[in-house]
């Protein structure tokens, strides 16, 4: 019976419809050469780049930092799945949760918080980052603002008390239990101290400390601010793997150095030296890991230079004349908002296109 059916269909089949290897004859538009890169690959590379500073912050701040980082990542993944589930079936939502972008967001949020943050700070931050920063706009690739910074600025404005009670790294007070670091001493961040009393007063206050050892390896502040050296290590790894381009970090850092340098020359007693400004705060974390977010920064290389310079101007202005000691988050968010405009202005010429002036000749 079954054999009869098969024979009859074979006869009815038109002779020209032979089984062609159709997958070899696909018609599609360019690009034809696909690079071997994918969202998870990029994201897990960023995680690798953030590992040194993360591990160093665990060492410097103790178990509290581990708790902050773990809860930040967990809440971020949970809310990613929760909001993705609104628009997608389980399988797709699960795939998006595990594509690494939420993991990077979680690590970055953790690095942007102080080691004594209570658990609900991470929960609210992840909720706002994922809900309002990312999925309200349609998920990864469609968000105009860096989700982590949206979450962080929301926290900073809403809970100033919890967000600015910094603890010194345990290296500074060896008497306290270095593992738990429960008796961590409240300390001002270098930028906070600078805002309080200007450059000369800051130098007096920190004259006991080996300043460069302090800045490179155990600065007080957010988890991610603890070690400039480890941050730069990660940033250079990303540059080497070509995950980020040099345009944004370089123009960002250069413009901050330029503006703070000029002001330091004008009034050395009040304005700190440019090297100090480059080394403190979250400037390096922002310049290498936040401003370079592919989704929210310009596409063209010249646009990236403009973007970085804009971030630099705003950061320097907020630090020197604003009411907040640090302005990296605000600066990057504002420039995120200008990114579509920058992309429009700096559209690269098409290959082979002739400029209007030359065409008239």
């Amino acid at each position: 019976m079954a054999e009869e059916t098969r024979i009859s269909t074979a006869v009815e089949m038109p002779p020209n419809q032979i089984d062609l290897p159709i997958e070899n004859m696909r018609l599609q538009s360019s690009p034809y050469i696909a690079a071997e890169t994918s969202i998870p690959k990029v994201m897990y590379n960023v995680v690798i780049a953030l590992l040194p500073v993360t591990l160093w912050s665990f060492w410097a701040f103790g178990l509290r930092a581990v708790g902050v980082m773990a809860s930040s990542i967990l809440f971020m993944l949970a809310f990613e799945y929760f909001f993705a589930r609104f628009r997608h079936p389980h399988q797709e939502a699960w795939r998006q949760t595990l594509d690494g972008s939420a993991l990077v967001s979680g690590v970055l949020l953790g690095l942007n918080l102080g080691p004594t943050s209570p658990w609900w700070i991470m929960m609210v931050g992840a909720l706002i980052a994922m809900g309002l920063g990312k999925h309200a706009y349609g998920g990864l690739g469609r968000n105009p603002f860096n989700p982590v910074l949206v979450g962080r600025v929301f926290l900073l404005i809403s809970f100033p008390a919890q967000m600015t009670s910094w603890k010194a790294a345990s290296w500074l007070n060896r008497d306290a239990d270095p593992l738990l670091n429960l008796d961590a001493v409240t300390s001002a961040t270098p930028l906070g101290a600078l805002k309080e009393g200007g450059w000369s007063k800051f130098l007096d206050a920190f004259s006991q400390t080996d300043l460069w050892n302090y800045i490179l390896f155990n600065k007080g502040g957010c988890l991610g601010d603890v070690s400039l050296f480890m941050l730069l290590l990660g940033g250079l790894y990303l540059l080497g793997r070509k995950i980020i381009t040099w345009q944004i970090p370089l123009s960002y850092v250069a413009v901050v150095a330029l503006i703070t340098g000029v002001m330091h020359l004008v009034d050395p007693a009040h304005y700190a030296s440019p090297l100090f400004h480059l080394a403190t705060g979250s400037l390096m974390l922002g310049a290498f890991f936040m401003a370079t977010d592919m989704v929210t920064s310009p596409v063209s290389r010249s646009g990236q230079l403009v973007f970085g310079a804009g971030c630099g101007v705003l950061t320097a202005a907020i630090r020197l004349w604003g009411s907040f000691p640090e302005g990296v988050s605000f600066a990057i968010l504002i420039m995120n908002g200008l990114t579509p405009l920058i992309d429009k202005w700096t559209k690269p010429a098409l290959f082979g296109a002739v400029k209007m002036k030359e065409a008239k000749l």
Partner: protein
């Protein structure tokens, strides 16, 4: 709305729900965002606007055949400004606290686009009774939109509900909800909820 015969009931439902000025038409955003920091302010603002809306709708509907077509906007503004001035003085006399909290936004009811919009779109073309119902419904729609924003922002940002402490003092206050950014966040989420309910209603 235009095709079906207007009854008091349909006009009322239209103003309160179908064309809710705050959540469906997005009119009067300036006072909505500015004064919805607390539920009391929201109710004060909403009811003041409702009063002006009813009275101006009635008077404009009465005068609708006398006001020349080309001069209707200045005519409407004179009527509206009269009632706003009366409301402003009455609030100042009887509710000085609310008057102080609302500040400039009471005189600004003169240029509130809901009121001029209803004068232009409804009261200038419809009989007196229906215009009064329309004013009441639109005013209550505006008040309800303001009240939703005011309640959410006051509870989250200040831990109080109409001035009463509802969240314990240890519960952290989300200060951003009292700030302008919180107004935009709450408004956006409330409109999203209204759109979601509307789409469910249409599909059902």
């Amino acid at each position: 709305m235009s095709s079906a015969k207007k009854t008091a009931g349909s006009v009322f439902k239209n103003g309160l729900i179908v064309e809710n000025p705050t959540l469906r038409m997005l009119l009067g955003m300036c006072p909505t965002l500015a004064v919805s920091t607390s539920a009391v302010n929201a109710v004060g603002m909403g009811l003041s606007a409702t009063l002006v809306l009813i009275l101006s709708n009635v008077v404009i509907s009465l005068l609708r055949k006398m006001i020349p077509e080309k001069l209707r906007i200045p005519g409407y503004i004179v009527v509206i400004a009269t009632f706003v001035t009366m409301t402003d003085l009455a609030l100042h006399a009887f509710f000085p606290d609310i008057h102080k909290a609302l500040g400039i936004f009471i005189p600004l009811i003169v240029v509130n686009c809901i009121i001029l919009g209803r004068a232009e779109a409804f009261a200038g073309k419809n009989p007196v009774l229906l215009s009064a119902v329309d004013g009441l419904a639109m005013g209550l729609g505006f008040t309800s939109g303001l009240l939703i924003l005011g309640m959410v922002r006051e509870i989250l940002g200040n831990g109080t509900f109409f001035g009463l402490q509802v969240l314990s003092a240890s519960f952290p206050q989300v200060i951003v909800m009292i700030l302008p950014a919180g107004a935009f966040i709450t408004l956006g989420l409330t409109i999203a909820a209204a759109n979601w309910i509307e789409s469910r209603r249409k599909n059902a």
